[in-house]
C-alpha cells in the first residue's frame, strides 16, 4: 500500500501532487527510534528514505561517503554553515555534525518522505529553518523505568554515562510540546503502525490536498 494514497486520483479531482515530508524523529537514546525508522524504510523503500548527515569527523573503516555520512573538511563544513546550507548543526567531542538542506530538498521534491533522527535542540533548529511540509514526532518509552532497563540491557556504558543519558531524557521531555505527535514505543510493530498512520493521515489532510 502506498502511504500517499491520493496520488493516483490527482487527475480526477484536480488535487495537486505535494512534495514529500520531512519527518523529524526525536526521543531519548535507548527508546528505539532507530529500529522503528529502519523498519519503516524497509517496508516502504519507494516512499521513505533516511537523511544523511554531514560531518567533520574522519570516516571509520567501511563507512562510505554519501551513504553513511557526507564527510567534509572543517573548511567545507564552515562554508556549508556560512551559505545557510545546513538545516541544523551541532558539535560533539570536537567534531561537527549537520543536516544538509540540499539532500532533504532533493528527496522531498522527488516525492519521498525523509526521516531525520535528531535530538531536541537540533529539532528546534529544523523547525526554524525548514519551511516545507514536516511532521515532528517524539518517541517516548512506556516509562522511565523501562528506558533505564533498556539502556542497562545494552551493557555498553558505565553507571555515570547511563545516568547522564537518563538526565538528558528527563530534560528533553520538557520540550515535547514543540512536537506535533507523541508515540509510546511499547512494541516495535505497534510503533511502526503508529508512524505509518501519522504519515498517511498527513496525505489525507484537506489543507494539504486543496492548495
Amino acid at each position: 500500500m502506498l502511504l500517499n494514497s491520493l496520488g493516483k486520483y490527482n487527475k480526477d479531482f484536480g488535487f495537486k501532487t505535494q512534495d514529500g515530508l520531512l519527518i523529524v524523529f526525536s526521543g531519548p537514546s535507548g527508546v528505539g527510534k532507530g529500529t522503528i525508522v529502519k523498519e519503516l524504510v524497509k517496508i516502504y523503500p519507494e516512499e521513505l528514505v533516511l537523511s544523511i548527515s554531514a560531518t567533520t569527523r574522519s570516516p571509520r573503516v567501511g563507512e562510505i561517503d554519501g551513504k553513511d555520512y557526507f564527510f567534509k573538511t572543517r573548511e567545507e563544513f564552515d562554508n556549508l554553515i556560512k551559505n545557510n546550507m545546513l538545516l541544523e548543526y551541532a558539535s560533539f567531542n570536537g567534531e561537527t555534525y549537520g543536516t544538509p538542506r540540499e539532500y532533504v530538498e532533493k528527496n522531498v521534491q522527488n516525492n519521498k518522505n525523509i526521516f531525520l533522527e535528531i535530538e531536541v535542540q537540533g529539532a528546534l533548529q529544523i523547525k526554524k529553518n525548514w519551511k516545507g511540509g514536516s511532521i515532528f514526532i517524539f518517541v517516548l518509552p512506556p516509562s522511565f523505568e523501562v528506558l533505564e532497563q533498556r539502556l542497562r540491557g545494552r551493557n555498553t556504558e558505565n553507571e555515570e554515562a547511563l545516568n547522564n543519558r537518563l538526565a538528558i531524557a528527563h530534560k528533553e521531555f520538557e520540550f515535547i510540546s514543540e512536537y506535533d505527535y507523541i508515540i509510546v514505543n511499547d512494541t516495535i510493530s505497534c510503533s511502526v503502525d503508529f508512524v505509518k498512520s501519522i504519515i498517511m493521515t498527513e496525505y489525507f489532510k484537506v489543507n494539504r490536498i486543496l492548495v
Copy 2:
C-alpha cells in the same frame, strides 16, 4: 490494537484521558460510507459506535426504538429543537430527522468514538453546534464515472433519481474544504485502514495529549 493507544500510559507521563471523538462522515450516496463505517465498528466494537438519529417518522416493521432510531412525536421533536438538544436536523418528504446531542455526549464521555454519517448541510450544522473533539472526513469515489457505475449497479432507481444523486454529488464536492480529511474509497479494506489511521493519529496529537 486499541485506537487510543496512549490510554495505558496516562499515569507515567501525566497525560490526560480525553473524551472520545465525534467522527463526521460525508460523501456522495453510493460512495460506500456506510460499508466502511460498519466494518470499522465491527473491528473495534469497544471503541467505535454509530450515532442514532431521532425522527418523526413511524417505525417500520422490525425497527427498534433506541437502536435503529429514536422515534419521536412531532411535539417531542419540536421540543428537542427548542431546547437545543439536536446537533443538526433536516426534513425529507414531510418527516424530520436529527442528531440527539445527549446520545453523542454520553458516548464521547464514555471514551467511545461516535460515527455520524451525514450529508454536507447537516455536517455544517454539526460544525457550528459541537464544541467537543471531532474529525470531519469526506469520502470520494475514485472518479465520478465510478460513482455512476456503482449507483447503476444498485439497480434500485430510475434514470431521473440517479441523475439527481449525481448532481447532488457534484454540488457537495464544492464543500469539501469544510472537512478535515479526504479519502478516496477505492477498496473497502484500504478505506477502513485509512479511517483507522486518521482516528489513531488524532490520539497522538501533542495538543490533544498535553492539555
